[in-house]
């Protein structure tokens, strides 16, 4: 059993490490510091941490202003409140002037659990991906989280990094290199390709095992870099495997699935299935129950692969 770590815990620790290296880094939160783990940074660097209270829109404006004066602001909130709740502020105060603001959110997706629909961001990838100048990253595990956060701090411009609440198994080891705009193959295969992000990457690994027992060999691509998206890897996967399944803890509208579909439609139309939330709001329940009923697990990925393989054969590829 792989080691389990919460990406937000890794994030909290990474901020402290990076804070020591970059004296211009400042961290902002809106009354969720205890949950997003920015509280750890505040204990280490109290003079560089600012809790704006419950005023997310205001917080984005503060970050924008701070960045114009040479600071590297890292802004944290729950994903729902760091995206949709502040969409226009992110769009016009951060992305339009292309400011050096890092929005790093936690508690994304339905795996928030019992808090229910109001707290379950299933639309944030869609929103943030649509903004010019924005970079969007959804790390798959703790190792990738640390690398992606470091990359964001060391790179100019707006970033949106999406983390969850749960402990996740590690899918990478320390040798893993995060490269923006590149998908990383976790497994090679010729029958179909699963392109996944976040906690769905590990589900894809499980799905691939089940499929291989049935003689189906899938490639798995980790699409942590949602924007920019790795067009080459998608086109290559389409050419070499002829069928694509995307998997994300997000609505099937506007997220990773859409990003991949856009590339395929323009370059190489290919049978495809999207695993994700099917255009509905979330609800209360345990994370495990919710991931099951919304079809965000290995079982659903296996079903989608089998379905897409049917279409691949029909097409006579």
């Amino acid at each position: 059993m792989a080691e389990m770590v919460a990406t937000r815990d890794v994030y909290g620790k990474a901020l402290i490490k990076l804070g020591k290296i970059y004296p211009d880094m400042v961290v902002l939160d809106a009354d969720t510091a205890s949950s997003t783990r920015t509280q750890w940074f505040s204990q280490e660097f109290p003079e560089r941490f600012f809790n704006l209270g419950i005023s997310e829109a205001n917080m984005i404006g503060y970050a924008a202003g701070l960045s114009t004066c040479g600071k590297i602001p890292v802004v944290s909130a729950f994903a729902c409140f760091g995206s949709g709740r502040v969409y226009d502020q992110v769009k016009l105060s951060v992305c339009w002037p292309k400011l050096n603001v890092k929005i790093i959110v936690t508690h994304a997706g339905v795996s928030v659990g019992e808090d229910g629909a109001s707290h379950q961001a299933i639309d944030d990838i869609n929103l943030m991906r649509g903004l010019p100048n924005m970079t969007v990253i959804v790390p798959a595990d703790g190792i990738e989280t640390e690398k992606a956060v470091r990359y964001a701090i060391e790179t100019q411009g707006p970033f949106y990094i999406r983390l969850g609440r749960l402990n996740l198994p590690l899918v990478f080891d320390d040798t893993y290199e995060f490269v923006l705009g590149k998908m990383h193959a976790l497994r090679e295969g010729t029958d179909a390709t699963i392109i996944a992000c976040g906690l769905m990457v590990n589900e894809s690994v499980k799905a691939a095992q089940t499929l291989s027992e049935q003689g189906i060999n899938v490639r798995i691509l980790n699409a942590s870099s949602i924007k920019p998206i790795d067009k080459q890897a998608i086109i290559l996967a389409a050419k070499e495997t002829g069928a694509i399944v995307t998997a994300e803890e997000h609505s099937i509208i506007g997220g990773l699935g859409s990003a991949v579909a856009e590339v395929l439609a323009e370059h190489l139309p290919t049978p495809m299935e999207r695993v994700g939330v099917k255009d509905t709001f979330g609800q209360s329940g345990t994370p495990k129950e919710l991931l099951r009923i919304f079809g965000l697990d290995a079982v659903s990925i296996v079903e989608a692969v089998i379905k897409v393989l049917g279409r691949k054969t029909q097409k006579g590829r």
Partner: protein, 270 residues
Amino acid sequence: MEDIINLKERAKEVRRLVINMITEANSGHPGGSLSMTDIITTLYFSIMNHSAANPAWEERDRFVLSKGHACPAYYAVLSLCGYFPASELLKLRKLGSILQGHPDSKVTPGVDFSTGSLGQGLSAACGMALAGKIDKKDYRVYAIIGDGESQEGQIWEAAMSAAHFKLDNLCVFLDCNKLQIDGKVEDIMNIEPVIDKWKAFGWNTIQIDGHSIEEIIEAAGIAHKTKGKPTMIVADTIKGKCVSFMEGKVCFHGTAPNREQEQQALRELE
């Protein structure tokens, strides 16, 4: 209208239910539920005009829980009023329940508006009050907001507009329990002098002890008689009120009691 002694008993019952529900769900927000229990109990059992038999009754008074996370107390009151059976309460936050983690007007009978993203409910309450004015209806609109929630800019946008539209059919309680998630309101982002702010925004303001049922009733009565202005009742409260180990404790903002703590709390609430 129930008498004061009955209302106090009701509030105690609501608190017991809040503890049961959150313990059973093993998640939820006890602190802010207990701080507003006396207010919401008094609203539904003494002040508001409403009908459990007909939740969509057009002439009913409306209620918006802008600090939606405190819904366990809201649900307990609605159930005691007869909007749904008490057996639903122990399904709080469970898969498929009519009692979601934050109020969902689509699934819970009696819930007039969905909330959970702080700062948004008050504007909706203003909209309901404005509709009442347009249609020359007699219903009143009540809302409860949090002191941490008062840090949201949208609260003050609503404040300005409600005075502008002379929404004297709107009466809002500020559950001033001095705490939010990350600590004391005054340390995180001070909102004081908050009553002066509401006054400056053109509201009729009243300060009360938010655990005194007499004062809650009296203030709502003054609000009802006030013409041309909305009323803000700044209610001094204690987060976690009536459960000794929760009172004034930030850690019980969003943490469920365990079974042992549940038993102790219930003993204190006998």
